[in-house]
Amino acid sequence: MGIVAFSIGDVNVYWYGIIITIAILIGMIITWINVYLRGQEFSRVVDILLFGIPVGFLFGRLGQVILHWDNYQNNWSEILQCAHGGISIYGAFLGFILVVFLYTSAKRLSFWFWLDILVPAIVFALMLDQLGHFVLQVTVGTPLPLNIPNDHSLVQYIEYDFRPSGFEGYEYFRPVALYQAIAQFVVFVASIILSFLQIRRNNIKQGTIFLISIFFVALIRFFCGFLYLGAPANDTLHFGQITCLLGSMLCLCIWCLRKYQRQNFFFGTLFKFLK
């Protein structure tokens, strides 16, 4: 598909940016349905997005700079060169959650309630992001042997110039991004089902849908990380995997604490804000 969709004069319009924009738009539609079913106001979501998109972008860029500091330490002007690519999904995600936290605190809304409303859209956007990685051929899985049979199984053909150095002889690679997108779709469907249950029967504690979804999404990323090509040979985990493992453990811990805080006075007082 190429990197540039089209150019208006000298200005390039990029496929990845278009995919992210479509993801946000469809996320807005999903959230609109969610908000409508719960009798809330959509203007809240617009407010969150107004702050969330720039802050998410900023934190994503910051995350990229911090994680790949050796690329930027010698030429600081590169930091501002967004057109050279590079945004960290972890940074963007953290930035967005921060905005939701600050907004709900300022407007005296329930943080966990609004996270539950937003989470199907977040998972959907993450799924489209992975599909974007797939078509841009930036996430490369382990190579497949040259003589694979014609059995219509899922593979990814990576064009010659995009192949990582050392692997020019291989044509087909494991489509890791596609696997992740499919798994995230399953989580997305689960989050929608849980949302319906929460609305209809009102028996799911607020925040649980968010914690469960993010727990599984992070776990998926952790397991798919083993199929990435850049994985070091000596079985150490790379940064993305460690972050996701910690993230999913954190979700699990918060979920347990919130579930059992009534029973446990110590935790209840210690984590009073986890209402």
């Binding site: 598909m1 150019s7 990029y14 940016g17 219509h152 064009e159 087909y172």
Partner: protein
């Protein structure tokens, strides 16, 4: 209250419009690839074998072939030569609007009898990759005399090795002999400098590609399904095979138009 909500939506739309301009990709991208992608070279190379009424998949019926060529003409496609393609990939020379490269593999006699008149009728150029040992020897392959006529009328004759053996199964000496002798045969019979080769059965590896380069070829074609753009390996150019199916024109149409999607799914020849 309502006013400021409208302003907010407008600002939101503006933010959403900005994103495609600012995000080229999740990882740092090689600027060369970005620039090449912006210039948008993307060429379809059609790959035919036989053009007759045998009901096998390798054999497109003449009636269907005529229909496909008529479609290309009507849709404004311009046939190019392999030289033009090479010039574009190496030097960036511009190609005409809607370029397409028509190729035939093996050099069957029906290419001359059935396909050549149709190509001539529409003023199309094409390239035939011939198996040099089979010409003048077996009855259903073209003769050198016919090859000469084709070469002089816009149908370029290029190499498909000497005996159509899969190059990955031969040792280095044999590969070199196949490459060099086929070039020599065509050069001598047709008085030209053969620059292009198509791998028999499409099999190759990077070592063979290097030998192809050493033998004096300037580019090589595979049977890998895809389109050719700047990110392609010049010694492993992708092509779109056209087969006889239950609805040959529909398959042709789909393959002509939907390559990028199929390519990204790594669609192995169906």
């Amino acid at each position: 209250m309502k006013f400021s909500y409208l302003y907010k939506k407008i600002i939101l739309v503006m933010l959403l419009v900005l994103i495609p301009l600012l995000l080229p990709g999740p990882k740092i991208l090689d600027q060369k690839l970005v620039a090449e992608s912006a210039s948008d070279t993307s060429v379809v190379i059609l790959n035919y074998h036989k053009v007759d009424d045998m009901k096998i998949s390798l054999s497109v019926a003449p009636v269907d072939f005529e229909k496909q060529m008529a479609y290309l003409k009507e849709q404004g496609y311009t046939t190019i030569t392999a030289d033009q393609l090479l010039d574009n990939l190496e030097n960036g020379t511009e190609l005409p609007e809607k370029p397409i490269l028509i190729t035939f593999d093996d050099g069957y006699e029906d290419n001359y009898k059935n396909a050549y008149p149709v190509l001539k009728k529409y003023g199309f150029k094409a390239t035939i990759f011939v198996i040099t040992d089979f010409l003048d020897r077996y009855p259903n392959y073209i003769t050198w005399a016919q090859a000469q006529e084709l070469q002089q009328n816009g149908i370029s004759i290029e190499s498909h090795t000497v005996q159509h053996k899969s190059l990955t199964e031969l040792n280095d000496e044999e590969v070199r002999s196949e490459l060099i002798n086929s070039k020599k045969a065509i050069d001598e019979h047709l008085g030209k400098d053969t620059r292009y080769i198509a791998y028999p059965t499409g099999t190759y590896n990077l070592h063979i590609a290097q030998m192809v380069k050493d033998a004096g070829y300037r580019a090589a074609f595979t049977v890998k399904y895809g389109n050719v753009d700047k990110a392609s390996n010049i010694y492993a150019l992708e092509r779109v095979p056209i087969f006889h199916t239950e609805n040959t024109f529909k398959s042709f149409y789909e393959r002509l138009h939907y390559i990028p999607i199929f390519e990204h799914l790594g669609w192995i020849k169906s």
